[in-house]
């Protein structure tokens, strides 16, 4: 490294070098700012170690304490190691890695003395800012990260300013300008830099599971609906189906035991294995003459692999497949926001022929559970003719008997819970009604299963996309009927039709609604102004997800094709060079603009040229010489009396320095002729 020869060894040892105080303050602020968003997913131990180190460093900064002794540092390292170990996360998980990074970072805080320490901390800061995006890529985190980067950069600027000059505000301003000037170039790189497939597999953020689960006990979904978080957003390519048709099917619960419904196991037979995108399987319906509904889903992470789609979904997106019970699943659990395209064939039949193994599975009930409802169902079936009539009777029963749809059903014991609901409490949420319905169908030998997912959603009027939240979680049923296949029955529609037509809020009693709004963002619903703000934020977040978070290989290829006509490496390279050049040119202009010399005064220009021409005659104007002085000297050189030149000097002086004298063409002409005569005289004398 020929050019890197400075005597940095002494600096690195911290001898004689002190990080400027204000720069140090900025560094500490930067550290706190970048770690803050990570507080949500690192263990409290690490936060505690970080706070201790931060406080200690602050006391050192104020000159009250000394740097900690070695044993204290060892203690802190041990404490944080225990903390990371006790967090229960796997040793190779992303959370552990981030946690360790932040521990190292916090410990560096208490021994940050030299410039090299400061550089290390700053590089770590940038890294930690980026790491937060592995957990959350929302627009809010992005804005926060830009601010963090400005602060980190300000700390870096502070290290290179004169010690007496470093002030937090000037460093911050310089850093803000720098980051702003870097933005156009960043956008060019963001758009054109080729996005490639992952090079190797990496641990993905775990996080807590949200949303639907693969088993559902009565009451589970009711708890879910108190969460206002977004499950996914959907964009329809064509017209959106009506709200009552929006059954986002995600999970099929075939097994019942101990009061809990759970997803049926995957059959071992190869013909029943999930089918990947583009492939065909025998169980798939013929959809050749059905008009498909096409949409795109932007799904928030669930840590699970199931996807949601409208009936009847076929796998079209890369990495998705269709299970034997017509569910869409993803190859990998959803750890970060993903985007997939969905196609639904609304009235396509599912399983016109029901295989025997499936019939057995979908009619199975525990042997001696819920005897009263089995007797009730058999009794009802004996008095009706045909399966469809039986089901209609059940629904009619729900409609006419005093059943209540409520968020707060009474707790039921696991044993005989369906009986307890159907005959005693009669208060339940969607899963209670769906469960009882499936139970009764199976009791009389009709194949039936419970389906979980979301129902409805809210259209954002600004962008027209559909927002599906956790509070839209729903459970319904599918019953297999001869000649029709699996048919959707929603017992909730019988007890609370408003739930299906206009959403959960409309279907609830006043008391339930109050409970719901106290825990969720639904409280905004009554306030018109706030409602608009929520829509605005939501539409911004949606566009952000579409264009920034979701800017992947596929979207980039589409976008570049639109922009460049044809995507070739040459064209992309040229576009990147052109865009980068323009962005840097903007910076150059802003940096060097004020350097351009002021436009000359015409009289000044004339005089300067005169002086330049006289150099040839051996008379050069000294830098400190005033125009009057120089003219007097030139006059002396042609052997004339000073009075001869006085009028010209006066004229030039007034043109140059008197703000009241207007520089007219006549005045300039007089000046030019005077100077020319002088020049000619001097040239003649020089020759003679």
């Amino acid at each position: 490294m020929a050019f890197l020869r400075r005597n940095e060894a002494t600096e690195a040892l911290g001898i004689g070098y002190q990080i400027p105080r204000n720069s140090l303050a900025l560094l500490m602020i930067a550290q706190a700012v970048v770690v803050l968003p990570h507080a949500a997913h690192i263990t409290p131990w690490i936060i505690a170690v970080g706070l201790i180190c931060g406080y200690w460093r602050w006391m050192v900064f104020q000159g009250r304490w000394d740097y900690p002794q070695r044993w204290i540092k060892v203690l802190l390292v041990v404490a944080s190691a225990i903390g990371v170990g006790a967090s229960g996360k796997s040793a190779f998980s992303l959370e552990t890695a981030t946690g360790l990074l932040i521990v190292a970072f916090a410990l560096k805080l208490v021994e940050m003395k030299s410039r090299r320490d400061a550089y290390l901390v700053i590089h770590l800061c940038y890294f930690i800012v980026a790491a937060e995006f592995l957990f959350d890529q929302s627009i809010g985190v992005a804005v926060y990260s830009v601010l963090s980067m400005v602060i980190v950069t300000a700390a870096l600027v502070g290290l290179h300013q004169l010690h007496t000059r470093v002030r937090v505000s000037t460093s911050l301003r310089t850093a803000a300008v720098l980051v702003m000037q870097a933005m156009p170039l960043m956008l060019v790189l963001f758009l054109f830099f080729p996005r490639v497939a992952p090079l190797w597999s990496v641990p993905l953020p775990g996080g807590t599971r949200t949303g639907m689960t693969d088993h559902v006990a009565p009451g589970d979904i009711a708890a879910l609906t108190r969460a206002y978080e977004i499950a996914f957003r959907a964009v329809f390519y064509g017209p959106m189906p009506p709200a009552r048709a929006l059954y986002w099917r995600g999970l099929v619960y075939s097994n019942f035991s101990q009061g809990t419904w759970s997803v049926g196991g995957v059959s071992a037979a190869p013909e029943n294995a999930p089918v990947g995108a583009g492939a065909r399987a025998d169980f798939m319906p013929d959809v050749s003459d059905i008009e498909p509904v096409s949409y795109q889903i932007l799904m928030e992470p669930t840590q699970a692999s199931w996807l949601f789609g409208l009936d009847v979904a076929l796998p079209v997106a890369h990495g998705t497949s269709l299970t034997r019970d017509f569910r869409l699943i993803s190859a990998e659990p959803i750890h970060t926001m993903i985007r997939y395209r969905g196609v639904a064939y609304p009235d396509a039949p599912m399983d016109l022929q029901l295989p025997e193994w499936l019939r057995i599975r979908e009619t199975r009930l525990p042997d001696d559970d819920n005897p009263r409802i089995i007797a009730f169902a058999k009794d009802l079936a004996a008095n009706t003719d045909g399966n469809e009539a039986f089901l209609a009777n059940v629904l009619q029963y729900i409609r006419t008997q005093p059943f209540f749809y409520t968020l707060n059903p009474p707790l039921l014991s696991n044993a005989d819970s369906v009986d307890a609901f159907w005959f005693d409490s009669r208060r339940g949420f969607c899963s209670h009604f769906a469960g009882a319905f499936v139970y009764m169908a199976r009791a009389v030998g009709i194949p039936a299963r419970m389906v979980g997912g979301y129902q409805g959603g809210e259209v954002n009027p600004l962008t027209g996309h559909l927002v599906v939240r956790q509070c839209d979680a729903h459970a319904w049923t599918e019953v297999w009927l001869e000649g029709r296949g699996w048919v959707r029955f929603d017992p909730t529609a019988a007890v609370a039709p408003a739930r299906i037509e206009s959403g959960l809020n409309a279907a609830l009693s006043e008391a339930d609604r109050a409970v719901l709004s106290s825990v969720t963002g639904a409280r905004f619903e009554g306030v018109p102004g706030l409602r608009d703000v929520v829509y605005l934020f939501e539409s911004m977040q949606h566009r952000w997800n579409l264009w920034v978070v979701g800017y992947d290989t596929e979207v980039q290829a589409r976008y570049l094709a639109d922009l460049l006509g044809e995507v070739t490496p040459t064209r992309v390279g040229l576009a990147m060079l052109l865009g980068g050049g323009v962005s840097l040119a903007l910076v150059v202009v802003s940096l060097f603009w004020r350097r351009r010399p002021m436009p000359d005064h015409p009289a000044q220009r004339m005089f300067r040229r005169f002086a330049e021409r006289l150099v040839r005659s051996g008379l050069s104007r000294a830098p400190q010489e005033t125009p009057a002085h120089f003219l007097a000297r030139v006059n002396a050189a042609r052997n004339r009396a000073p009075s001869d030149i006085a009028p010209l000097i006066d004229h030039l002086d007034s043109l140059l320095y008197n703000p009241d004298v207007v520089c007219t063409k006549d005045a300039l002409r007089t000046l030019r002729s005077g100077l020319r005569r002088l020049q000619v005289d001097v040239a003649l004398r020089a020759r003679s």
Partner: protein, 322 residues
């Protein structure tokens, strides 16, 4: 931090190239012609961080990690312009070269001025082997930087090229230049103060001269002049005539010193050092003194310019004429 050269910068080839590229001049305005720019170690680390982030972004398929990487990359590129601009358009001019004794630091004054526009920050200037000095032109358009170079040998001190460098604003890049301002400073021998009165007292052939400041013998009376010691006032005469009259005393000492190279002991440098010490003592006490060196003679005289010419003769004795 003392300014040091890399092996590359020490090579004669580089220096010949540098002489062509940045010819010696008392005043120089920095431009593309004269400014070099290259990443620092921190800059390379920063590049490594960017590569790491891009790898992370690829493997996690995370758009916003790409965003962070690209922001840092753009910052790096924008910083090239900042660092270059921080030196570009600066005018460096040597305005004064001081003098000093061997073992001391000699002062050079360099004037740094900038074109109009934004200020310059975090600039370091330093001669080779000397401590670099921080400077900035933020609110002002010109400043004078005092630079000190350790004087190691007597004679003309040529500090060589002046390093001007900056790592502003982020320390990722270093822009620098080596300018040859043609600076040279005169370094006097290191003075040796050894009292050798017998060598100083001179029994000259030019007759005895009187030291008017002496107080050995009464010689005359005259009217009082401001500054005369009060104890010399003849108060009786004052009482009588109302006039202040003072007695004048004279010491019969020859005040003219001739510092003679041949009459001091030691090798050449030691002799010069002793003579320098004597010259300084003599000058401080205000005595008239001269210097005899083999082949050179400086006639006795007083005053700072005289002292300087004596010291100059001592400094350059025996050295090839520059």
């Amino acid at each position: 931090m003392a300014v040091e050269l890399s092996a590359f910068e020490r090579s004669p080839r580089f220096n010949r190239w540098l002489d062509r590229r940045i010819p010696p001049s008392r005043s120089l305005t920095l431009s593309q012609q004269s400014i070099f720019i290259f990443p620092t170690i921190t800059g390379f680390l920063f590049g490594g961080l960017i590569v790491l982030l891009i790898l992370g972004a690829i493997n996690y398929q995370n758009s916003l990690v790409y965003g962070v990487a690209f922001t840092l990359g753009s910052l790096f590129l924008v910083t090239i312009l900042y660092t270059f601009r921080n030196l570009s358009g600066l005018t460096i001019e040597l305005i004064a070269a001081g003098t000093g004794f061997v073992g001391e630091d000699v002062e050079f004054q360099v004037r740094m001025s900038r074109s109009k526009g934004k200020g310059r920050e975090g600039i370091q200037l330093g001669w080779l082997g000397a401590i670099a000095q921080w400077a900035e032109l933020y609110d002002t358009e010109a400043c004078t930087v005092r630079l000190f170079v350790p004087a190691k040998a007597r004679g003309w001190l040529d500090p060589g090229r002046l390093l001007i460098e900056t790592q502003y604003p982020l320390g990722l890049l270093r822009a620098w230049t080596w300018v040859d301002l043609g600076a040279r400073a005169l370094v006097y021998p290191q003075p040796l103060f050894i009292d050798q009165p017998e060598l100083i007292a001179r029994r000259g052939e030019e007759g005895e001269l009187m030291d008017p400041q002496g107080s050995d013998d009464f010689s005359d009376m005259r009217t009082y002049r401001p500054g005369d010691p009060v104890r010399h006032v003849i108060w009786r005469a004052y009482a009588r005539t109302d006039q202040l009259v003072v007695k004048e005393y004279t010491s019969y000492l020859d005040p003219r010193l001739m510092l003679d190279y041949d009459r001091v002991a030691g090798g050449t440098e030691e002799r010069l050092s002793r003579l320098t010490g004597m010259a300084l003592n003599a000058a401080r006490s205000g005595r008239e003194f001269g210097l005899v060196l083999p082949g050179t003679k400086v006639r006795p005289g007083i005053g700072d310019p005289h002292r300087d010419s004596i010291l100059r003769a001592l400094a350059l004795y025996g050295l090839p004429q520059a």
